[in-house]
Point group: C2
Chain length 223, copies 2
């Protein structure tokens, strides 16, 4: 993957400049990639019969392109394949890092990192790109896993649709740190601070029919 740390930021557009808390917005590629790469779930928005639809789905990033997959019968994937020039989407990824408790109800907040991508999704038709995208989707959830599983068959590939969304119109938004109480509230007798939050992984649960000789792989125990 290309080193993008010195690359130009994503250009700010009318719809990626927030109306509120502009100081929380960022267009830095490295920052955006970092938020995306530590996630695998996104919320994909599209318009169907004039109304918005938001569905949770897995995604993967490969360079400056995101991939989403699903059954060839799933609505957004069918729509992206049929629509010309593609399907207008908004793809949003959010990490919650902490609950922010202020003395005042008004200043309660959460610490978060989010990325919003606007663009047009297209069906991936090139067989090689499609296969690489499906590997990336597995590896986005569990890095390294695609090499430790049975690759997709031609039939499975045919049953799966993949759509791509290029990272052109992209913004990140972040909040961190403690509560921002008003000066006159600092003496109030309410605890104030942050309750940190991070994904908590449990012990891996082997499949009922798993050969007991197969140990839990290191890419899981490392989490």
């Amino acid at each position: 993957m290309a080193d993008t740390s010195t690359a130009a930021p994503y250009p700010a557009t009318d719809r990626t400049v927030p109306t509120r808390y502009r100081e929380r917005a960022s267009y830095d590629r490295e920052l955006v990639h970092g938020i995306l790469d530590t996630a695998y779930l996104c919320h994909l928005g599209f318009v169907r019969d004039g109304a918005p639809v938001v569905l949770p789905t897995l995604f993967a990033r490969v360079g400056e392109r995101l991939y989403i997959h699903g059954s060839t019968g799933a609505r957004p994937l069918r729509a992206a394949g049929q629509a010309d020039p593609g399907l207008a989407v908004c793809l949003t990824v959010t990490h919650v890092d902490g609950l922010v408790l202020a003395r005042s109800a008004f200043h309660h907040s959460i610490n978060y990192r989010s990325v919003v991508v606007h663009g047009t999704a297209h069906e991936v038709t090139d067989p090689r790109e499609k296969r690489e995208a499906l590997d990336a989707l597995v590896d986005q959830v569990v890095p390294g896993r695609s090499r430790d599983s049975r690759p997709a068959t031609a039939k499975e590939l045919a049953a799966t649709a993949v759509i791509s969304l290029d990272l052109n119109e992209v913004s990140a938004k972040l909040r961190s740190g403690g509560p921002n109480d008003d000066a006159e509230d600092l003496g109030l007798p309410h605890w104030a601070g942050v309750l940190p939050l991070a994904p908590g992984y449990g012990e891996p649960v082997p499949a009922d029919d798993l050969d007991p000789a197969l140990a839990v792989p290191e890419y899981l125990t490392a989490r």
Copy 2:
């Protein structure tokens, strides 16, 4: 809050019946309420200039109504207040409960519980409902917290917009359990099973300017 455990399920509509994995869908009110009540973050979708927008935001449930708040200057809140008869939205809540590793790349999945609400959002103008909604928004994140913080002033109430969305067109979707590998893959030498996932809370971090005499409240230590 009314006991809804014996209430009729939400009616299935064209847009709440999924095209795929219909057996994973549910319209049970108690199930839907349970998924909503253990969350506080939603992804709100709406249409702006013909294109979809998906933003992460806090929400609260009170009975069969959801509330969202924000600055009176924020786009969706402004749009809901100005639009007649309101703003068409899709509000989605997702919990990820586990990563599902199958022998085949194709059968990788995640265990999740999600709720999708379609409807029209309206600005809350009644002062009493607005105040109760703001309390509910604080309590949705940290139950009991609204009683242990300084209530909103008239000025703060005026600076905050609240929109409501009734639970009419609602569906839940769930996946649980282990991987569903094909019979011919069961002997492959790849570990298969589930990596459970749940929110992990860290130690509460007091605000820099907090009076050290104020102990961490029980509603935080209980998490």
